[in-house]
Structures are given as structure tokens and as C-alpha cells.
């Protein structure tokens, strides 16, 4: 028991500090991906709902691709594909330097693309749940399109989209574990290293799973606080 406490401690013999940095990396990757994924997902949802068949088709291709590909494959495509693209551009520019693609950035792009593809569907169904009368009422009292969106539509949209987006956040948090495969020092990577060095694989992977559970638990606390805040008593759900 004492040895377990030692190897999990935050000292020089322990792996606690390494795993804590891994946790920071996991959380920051998920947090960095979120705004990009939300904005892109919203934009794609608008593209699908503007009523133009060409724009809709372009948006549908995007969702089909990024919802259909395994996340791990998307990650590899971005990681190796971007590496090849950068090398080609550098060769055309005459410079022959090997540039490493940052695993964090590759993870952000790949996970952001997947998140936005799913988020666009959440936003689409949320938009569809808001009746036309809300827009008509807002225009009738003289609000501009922009103010209609800001004052009338968005408050309802957030409430309708929040459960779906909460789910996507949980999925995003778990998908960050995939980026460890291309070398990002996240929870899973750090615990893998510790497992290999100390030969205590079960202990360390159990710790990894527990840490993801803790992150999920913390997220659900924060998300339900947000949900309470945007929900209005007696409002139509």
C-alpha cells in the first residue's frame, strides 16, 4: 500500500505531478476546441437553414464526412496530411526544412471538426423547435434582424440546444484521449508512460479512468448550473 502511495505522490519518485500536467493538457485541449467547434457548428447550422439548396448540400457534405469518419482516422488524416501539405508548401517555397505539426493543434482541428459536425445538427433541431411566430412577433414590434436574434431567438436557442451540446462536451472530453496516440502528453499518455516504467499498468490505467470520471462529474456539475441559469420557470421547453 505504501508503495502505491509513493508512486502516485507528487514527489520525484512519484508520478502524481506528471499525471496532473496530463490532466491540465486534457482539459485545455477540450476547452480550446470548444469555442471553435461551437462557432463552426452554429455557422454550419445557419448554412443548412438559409433555404439555399447549394449551401445546404455543401454543409451536408461536411457533416457526412466528419460524422462518418472514425475520430482516430480524422486525427491521423489531419496530423499526417497537414505534415505532407506543409512540406509541399515549403518545398515550393524553396525551403527544405522539416516542420513538425503540433499534436495539440492537430487534435484541436480534428476534434473541432467532429464537434462542429455534430453541433450543427443540435443547432438545426434547436432552430427548428423555435416557432415562426417568434420571428414574426419580433419583427412586428419593430426589432431589426440582429436584435431579433440577440434578444428573442438566442435565449431560446441556448435553452433548447444545451442538453445536446452538454452531451457533445462529454464526448469531446473523452475523445481528447485519442490525441495521446499522436504523442500529446495528456492523461492517457502520462499514465501509459508511468505504467510502462513502474510495471503497474492496472493501477495507472485505473487512475486514468478515474480522472476522466472526475472530469465528467465536474462537467456535469457546471453544466447543470448553466442549465439552471438559462431555464426560466414555467417557460416552454
Amino acid at each position: 500500500m505504501e508503495s502505491v502511495l509513493t508512486i502516485l505522490s507528487f514527489g520525484p519518485e512519484g508520478w502524481g505531478d506528471d499525471i496532473a500536467t496530463g490532466m491540465m493538457v486534457t482539459v485545455s485541449l477540450a476547452l480550446a476546441t470548444l469555442p471553435f467547434g461551437l462557432v463552426a457548428g452554429y455557422a454550419i447550422a445557419r448554412g443548412k437553414l438559409l433555404g439555399d439548396p447549394y449551401l445546404r448540400a455543401a454543409a451536408d457534405i461536411y457533416t457526412t464526412i466528419f460524422r462518418g469518419l472514425p475520430e482516430l482516422l480524422t486525427l491521423f488524416l489531419v496530423y499526417y496530411g497537414a505534415g505532407i501539405a506543409v512540406r509541399q508548401v515549403m518545398r515550393l517555397a524553396g525551403a527544405d526544412t522539416a516542420i513538425e505539426i503540433n499534436a495539440f493543434v492537430a487534435g484541436m482541428i480534428a476534434l473541432g471538426a467532429v464537434f462542429s459536425a455534430y453541433a450543427s445538427e443540435v443547432f438545426v433541431s434547436a432552430f427548428k423547435a423555435i416557432p415562426r411566430g417568434q420571428y414574426e412577433g419580433a419583427y412586428a414590434i419593430g426589432l431589426s434582424h440582429r436584435r431579433t436574434m440577440r434578444l428573442v431567438i438566442w435565449p431560446q436557442l441556448i435553452r433548447l440546444a444545451l442538453p445536446g451540446l452538454s452531451n457533445l462536451w462529454m464526448i469531446l472530453l473523452k475523445d481528447t484521449a485519442l490525441v495521446s496516440v499522436i504523442g500529446l502528453a495528456d492523461i492517457l499518455r502520462q499514465t501509459s508512460i508511468a505504467a510502462r516504467v513502474t510495471r503497474e499498468a492496472f493501477l495507472f490505467f485505473l487512475v486514468a479512468c478515474l480522472l476522466y470520471l472526475i472530469l465528467a462529474l465536474l462537467s456535469s456539475i457546471v453544466l447543470s448550473a448553466i442549465e439552471r441559469r438559462v431555464t426560466i420557470e414555467g417557460a416552454r421547453q
Binding site: L72, Y80, L178, L188, A195, F202, C209
Partner: protein, 277 residues
Amino acid sequence: MSLSTSAESARELPPPELVRRWTRARVAGIALLVLWGLVGLGIVLFLVTSWNPDLFWRYVPRYLSGLWVTIQLVAISMVAGALLSIPVAIGRNSKNRIASGLAYAFVYAFRGTPLIAQTFLVYYGLGSFRPQLEAVGLWWFFREAWYCALFAFTLNTAAYQAEILRGAVASVGRGQWEAAAALGLSRLTTLRKIILPQAFLVALRPYGNELILLIKGSAIVAIITVYDLMGETRRAYAGTFDFQTYIWAALIYLGMVEILRIAIERIERRLTRHLGR
């Protein structure tokens, strides 16, 4: 200009102005479609220029065997998970606090952690208990990456499927149970003849989504040295450093998921045609 002539000429005019108008959305839509077209063309050109018959025919059988491994993995764990999900769902609904608590913990733990971490925990982690596993005669099972992957995937999908099952059964109204009880049907008959057929319609789409998620998730077994489609792709890339290996894999996965998605949609439309929705 008289009214009648303008009406006559209007009849000969091409479709209304609205269709031909170049709104910003249309311009953006066409620009994006052209962009997609260019991307598609680029991929086709890349595949054509890097076409190498020797390489292609050497790797086709490997990709097919990888695809077969993926299909087996997904099919077996989906079915085993479905069986395992039944007691879990019953436990979740049980009035026994211990049973429902255990079932809830199972579901929460497997849904709250990444599948890749669970797979590592089973494959690398259970290796720590080799003497104990050998003692109970289970080591042959947990020694193989393939069985470990099956084990982890089954548990994972069982947790998700238990929630689908529970939600679907709960979606059937109480009145259905009460009416069946009033007719003197036993609980098991009610479940089999009345509740499950209705629950199945609700559950079809979530089950389909779970199947698709499992196919996509199965790619991670490549990390623990199972040569599924992704594993064969990684091996091919390591052997050739040719990016087209990944493009082929992407096309196969996309094709597989799209076919499934369309099939599920068709089945659902067929089965719910009496509901008129």
C-alpha cells in the same frame, strides 16, 4: 403596352425571378460546393497520380482482411453487449437499492471514460494480474489483444445499450401496462407482446447510432496491435509512407457508415409507416 400582351409574354418568360436571384447564401453555397469539388478532384488526382498497381494489389487482400476483422469485432461485441445490457437495464429499474446502484455505477463508469482508456485497462492493466489469471485459467483469454478488445467493447456497448433499452421501455406509456394487466396478461407476456414491439420502434434509431459509434470506435483497437481496418492501414502506411493508404481507409469507413445510416433510415421509415409521421 396592354395588360393582355404582358400576361401573354409572361407566360413565355422563364421561371420567376426568385429562383434566379443570386443571394449571398447562393453565392456562398456554390463557392463552397466548388471548394468541395476541388477537394474531391484533388483526392482523385492524388490517387490517380500515385496509382501503383503492385502496391494496390498487394494491399487489397490486407485491407479486406482488416475490414473483416472490424466487422467481426463490431458484430460480436454489439450482440454480446445487447445480451449483457438486458440484466443491466433490469438492474437500473430494480427497486432493490443495491442492484440499481451497481447497475448505475456500471453504466456511469463505462459511459464516463474513454473507450481507449478502458481498452488499455483491460489489455495492459489485467496483464498485471497474470499469476492470478493463470490460476483461474483465464490467462489465455486476456493474453490476446483480440479477446481483450472484444471484452472491453462488449462492456462499453452494454452500458450504452442498457440506457437505450431502459429509455425505450420507459417511453411506452403506463397505460399500456395497465391495459394488459386488466386483460389478465402476465408481466412477461405484456413485455414480450405489447411493450417490446413498441419500444423497439423507439430504440431503432439509437441502436443504429450505437452501431455506427461502435464501428468508428473500433478503429482504436489498432493501437493494441489488433489488425482491423485501421491496423492494416497503419501497417500499410508504416511500410510505404504513402498517404493514399489513409485515404483508402477513409473511403471505406465513410462508405460503411453511410450505407448503414441509409439502411437504418429505410428500415425505420418502413416500420413506422402506420404512424404517419
